[in-house]
Symmetry: C2
């Protein structure tokens, strides 16, 4: 069945939906069949991005590859346990269906701790965690001592991933490959960047994840949202004349991320 | 009693905790007595920032102004209604106490839809909503048509603020002054910036908020988190030699934000 890619990080605004959309389109452009699930049952950023894409296709009379997309709504049962049981049943049914039909299933998690977010992480073959280049974001992975720069202890999100790994192993003996992708890297700010690189490298060994090169801070990653496009689309649909230098660099960053995910070799 | 400032936006990572901390320190440095409440009952970013500050004071043997800080924990009652009743009772008791003791009470909300976040917004005299300079973030305030650039309808967060305004008016006839602060403004990317400026300006009139100048993308806004400092502290505690140009510009942005909040004139 399909490889399950989960974009997760409880820290809000780290780049989960942006990363999800770019990886979805990159896999589609390689010819794979992709399923996607939006678990952010209030913001719907990925769902909105895809519906903007459908709007552009209709409006401009063009065709672009689209994933098989599903968004779930929250159970409204007043009792927490009954609501969670219903959320689980809906999620597992959708995941089973998409895994049987697609090469890859990509899940975008909300930027907060939710029952379905934890559940989905326990099904991940690959977990991709975008991280702003900031010690504020790092704080969700581990507490770092402000005076010495040493790692004190893993924090709530890392502990959740540890639980998800155990669940997965117990269910089907599977493993979870955890990749942290640095996002919105600034072209300046050398000192902060180096210090983050050092601590993220230490943390990778200690709590068991790999570090991917990630994306720089580039306006192209966000300015096409309303039209549902990514820089992987603009050249193909003849939208933007000669490819600009920043588009080329951004496309390379998406390709770099895809390579670092080390996805299983499939023939589209 | 105190003026209540709420930093809120359901969009994750827009800059609520960063904005909160800088406004807290700016008010403290003006000599005001400030209370603060962290409603992000899982990430605790503001609480972590302040505990790092206390760590630096202890470690370096220096003294810096501190707010009267409270963090609440979530009720664990299994029934949603009972849990909300307990959350409300705790929050209202803390708010009442801080309002009687302080000049300003500042509340940092989580980046998601929570019962206490909505409750706190209904007590705001000033609501400050940081916004990344991105149509992805704007989507939480209003749905914009990707083809025409027109505003289709206000979205979930704006509707929540509308409800909160009604609640406040019904409770004590008070009004809520809503300020949207643009955050992480890039020094490049003119086209996206202008387009955002245009749409945010239209939206301000339509759904009733004011736009504050806000903060640029500057590493100084995030690199002092582990030591619990802001650029308003470094010169006072003799930490960084000659003030650097970027520090001066960042301090001016904080002062600009404080001015645009139009806080009631109080003598510290
Ligand atoms: N590499 C990048 N360059 C420029 N802007 C970016 C980049 N990555 C993300 N952004 C912007 O940063 C903001 C946060 O990104 P996004 O919404 O994808 O994060 P998220 O983790 O999905 O957030 P949430 O926690 O709310 O779900 C958005 O305004 C987005 O447009
Ligand atoms: N003006 C700025 N310049 C540079 N970095 C910033 C700026 N404002 C915020 N950041 C960084 O952006 C990220 C998000 O900011 P912050 O955590 O304050 O947002 P938030 O809205 O409180 O997030 P959450 O929704 O998770 O509570 C952090 O990594 C922070 O360091
Ligand atoms: Mg998202
Ligand atoms: Mg926060």
């Amino acid at each position: 069945p399909a490889t399950v890619l989960v974009f997760g990080n409880e820290k809000g605004g780290s780049g989960k939906s942006t990363g999800s959309m770019h990886v979805i389109v990159a896999l589609l452009r390689l010819g794979f069949k992709v399923g996607s699930i939006d678990l952010d049952m209030r913001q719907w950023t990925l769902t909105r991005y895809l519906s903007n894409r459908a709007g552009t296709m209709k409006n401009d009379g063009i065709s672009m590859p689209m994933p098989v997309h599903v968004f779930l709504s929250r159970s409204d049962k007043p009792n927490r346990q009954e609501a969670e049981a219903e959320d689980r049943q809906r999620f597992e049914a959708v995941l089973k269906k998409l895994r049987s039909e697609c090469d890859f299933v990509l899940i975008d998690c909300p930027g907060t701790d939710t029952y379905v977010g934890r559940l989905a992480t326990g099904y991940a073959d690959k977990l991709v965690t975008p991280l702003n280049d900031s010690f504020v974001d790092l704080d969700m992975l581990a507490n770092v001592d402000g005076q010495t720069g040493e790692i004190i202890k893993p924090s709530v999100y890392s502990e959740m991933v540890w639980e998800a790994r155990k669940q997965k192993a117990a269910r089907d003996g599977g493993t979870l490959d955890w990749i942290v992708m640095r996002n919105r890297l600034s072209s300046l700010a050398a000192r902060n960047k180096q210090e983050m690189e050092r601590v993220v490298g230490l943390l990778a060994k200690r709590i068991g994840f790999r570090v991917a090169p990630g994306f720089s801070e580039r306006v192209i990653f966000r300015e096409l949202f309303l039209r549902g496009l990514t820089m992987l689309d603009v050249f193909e649909i003849g939208d933007s004349g000669k490819p600009q230098l920043s588009h080329v660099a951004a496309r390379q960053e998406v390709r770099g991320l895809l390579n670092s995910l080390q996805l299983p070799n499939r023939i589209p």
